[in-house]
């Protein structure tokens, strides 16, 4: 929790800045609508966190989100009755894609950057191969409800957030971080490294499925709904102070990073920063955040030397 403080502070400042320009933001409806908008990215960031903290990447979530939405539309095809079955199927699909990512990465020893890059190509190709190039079918009202109604979206976000925080406190989460920190020590403590890693990928896939359900619900079918989300999710996680390479950072901070990113977008919009320049701002903020973290490290690391000295003789 302590380690989430810097990002929470930044988030608070940004939210305050938004509120100054847009007082409506302070009303429950205004704030909740912000939360709803941020929900998909926050959920994706939570999933991406699980993978990053174990020392891996998942670049496939963006195209997975698209796949989820397009598949949902084709399978539901406007039929309200099909909604629940398809929802279940979508979760299974996300889980399955994640499992494949995890299995290829751990069992075939392909770096996850490459595995998930390949998966990204495969997914975006396969889904449109299946639908003939453009989305077909339509989503049902019941499906749309989750993303459209603020209440549902916020509820799902809260459930996911609570679940993932609990997960990270449970055996799974602690062993996951231990793997990211020191795989060998974890293995010699009886951690099933391969299995835990695969589960992390699977959960990242599920998070993409949930994000897809929210995004599809919010705005309907679109072929580009997931575009670039993988990089946004990684950016959010890194903004939260989670270190690429694993073993460090909390999921709360990662989700706060996603909120921060979304708040930054909102703020730039409100202050009328030109559409394009906001990417520049985003880039600068990203680098600055990571550089600030890296520069601070030597001081933090100082006590470690002492331990080394004993081992020297």
């Amino acid at each position: 929790m302590k380690r989430a403080l810097p990002i929470l502070a930044v988030l608070a400042v940004l939210l305050a800045a938004i509120a100054i320009v847009n007082p409506f933001f302070l009303e429950p409806a205004g704030f909740l609508s912000f939360v709803r908008r941020a929900a998909p990215l926050v959920i994706l960031a939570a999933g991406q966190y699980l993978v990053i903290v174990a020392g891996e990447f998942d670049l496939s979530v963006g195209s997975l989100v698209t796949v989820e939405v397009v598949v949902a539309a084709r399978l539901i095809d406007g039929d309200e009755a099909a909604t629940w079955a398809v929802l279940a199927l979508l979760i299974v699909l996300g889980l399955f894609v994640g499992l494949v990512n995890g299995a290829v990465t751990t069992l075939l020893r392909v770096p996850s950057f490459i595995t998930t890059l390949g998966m990204m190509l495969v997914l975006s190709g396969a889904v449109f191969l299946w639908t003939g190039g453009a989305p077909r079918g339509a989503l049902s009202q019941a499906f749309r409800m989750f993303g459209r109604q603020t209440g549902w979206a916020v509820l799902i976000l809260v459930v996911v957030a609570v679940a993932v925080v609990l997960l990270m406190r449970a055996n799974f989460g602690r062993t996951l971080i231990a793997i990211g920190d020191n795989e060998r020590a974890a293995a010699l403590s009886g951690v099933r490294v391969t299995r835990v890693r695969i589960i992390a990928f699977a959960l990242s896939g599920v998070s993409a499925a949930v994000a897809g359900i929210l995004l599809g619900g919010f705005a309907g079918v679109s072929a580009q709904v997931g575009q670039g989300l993988e990089f946004q999710a990684i950016t959010a996680v890194v903004l939260g102070g989670v270190v690429l390479g694993g073993g460090r950072g909390t999921v709360i901070a990662a989700m706060a990073g996603a909120f921060t990113l979304e708040a930054l977008f909102t703020l730039l919009n409100l202050y009328g920063v030109s559409g394009a320049l906001k990417f520049t701002v985003q880039g600068v903020v990203l680098i600055a955040a990571v550089a600030a973290g890296a520069i601070r490290l030597p001081f933090l690391d100082a006590p470690k030397l002492k331990g080394d000295a004993h081992a020297v003789s």
């Binding site: 290829v104 392909v110 998966m119 190509l121 190039g133 990089f231 990684i234 990571v290 890296a294």
Partner: protein
């Protein structure tokens, strides 16, 4: 004695199955299978136009991938190349403004801008200790913003004389392919024959060993990123010449960032650095281009192409991982 012979033949066999050979064998196989498939389809695969087409299509990616090879060999990577290519194409076309007399200035400007971007990347990674993924992602966002703010569509104009670069050919070899070959040769030469090249392998292979051997690792990283960016700049020049103008989306449309990384890895380089080479990358790029060409001939739809491409990349790396795993086991 007999043990020696055995060891030698084993070494020769190992050389045969090293990733670079694998990628060229795969390339030959794809050409063969492609030729057969196209023939069954009633077409001709190895026509002059396809041969030229493969080269034209792979030249820009090839040049970027050579730069990316350097970055990956040094244990880094560069996600900013796509936007840098767009920027370079615009800088080139706008500076040239259709005038022959401006070509030298424009090429200089492109090289300058590219070197600057590479310098920034390198400094952030080596001095600020920012993970290469984040540093170059951040830089690409910055360039993206600047591009979007300054240009809203194709801009500038490349004079006819400069377009020879993109369109002319000597027999079956386009000038663009010669440019690629030149860049690849320079990089190959750098890696094989200069101290710098040896240092790149050392830094990517094991930073600690490199440092203990007296190598200034930060400097190697910075130079590598400058060179990688210069390659992206050259690719931008080539594309400007092909397009006749600069285009703010040419780099991202081409997917040069991830695709160049994929090509390098396909060529047998280890993503973690220290293993691989320019030859493998050239093979990787050609493999992707020939695959593309086969699909083009068979008029396979582009979605299927993506699926195949994704599978090929992952399978290739899995094969390499297996192989190096078997050989490397003894060490652990």
């Amino acid at each position: 004695m007999s043990q020696n012979v055995l060891a030698d033949s084993r070494a020769r066999f190992a050389a045969l199955v090293n990733p670079t050979s694998v990628v060229f064998l795969a390339l030959a196989a794809v050409i063969l299978v492609g030729w057969a498939l196209v023939a069954v389809d009633g077409g001709q695969f190895l026509t002059m136009e396809t041969v030229v087409g493969v080269q034209q299509r792979s030249a820009a990616l090839g040049i970027v991938a050579v730069g990316q090879t350097l970055a990956i060999l040094a244990g880094s990577l560069d996600l900013s190349v796509a936007y840098l290519i767009s920027l370079a194409s615009l800088v080139a076309a706008v500076t040239m403004a259709g005038q022959d007399s401006n070509i030298v200035l424009a090429v200089g400007a492109v090289m300058g801008v590219s070197a600057l971007v590479g310098l920034v990347n390198g400094l952030m990674i080596s001095k600020l200790r920012v993970h290469a993924f984040i540093a170059t992602l951040g830089v690409s966002l910055i360039i993206k913003g600047i591009l979007g703010d300054l240009y809203d569509g194709p801009a500038g104009r490349v004079p006819e004389s400069f377009q020879h670069l993109g369109y002319d050919r000597l027999g079956p070899v386009p000038v663009s392919a010669l440019l690629w070959a030149a860049v690849a040769l320079v990089a190959w030469f750098l890696l094989r024959r200069t101290k710098y090249g040896y240092r790149v392998y050392a830094v990517g292979g094991d930073v600690e060993v490199a440092r203990l051997s007296g190598i200034r690792t930060d400097r190697v990283i910075i130079i590598t990123h400058v060179l990688c960016s210069l390659c992206a700049g050259i690719a931008g020049l080539l594309l400007a010449s092909r397009l006749g103008a600069g285009a703010p989306t040419v780099g991202t449309d081409g997917g040069y960032d991830l695709e160049s990384i994929a090509a390098v890895v396909l060529g047998g380089a280890a993503l973690a650095g220290g293993r691989g080479g320019v030859a493998g990358t050239v093979g990787g790029v050609l493999l992707l281009a020939v695959l593309d060409s086969v699909f083009n001939q068979l008029e396979v739809n582009s979605f299927f192409k993506d699926v195949v491409r994704g599978v090929v990349i992952v399978v290739a790396v899995a094969v390499y991982a297996r192989r190096t795993g078997l050989v490397g086991r003894r060490r652990t």
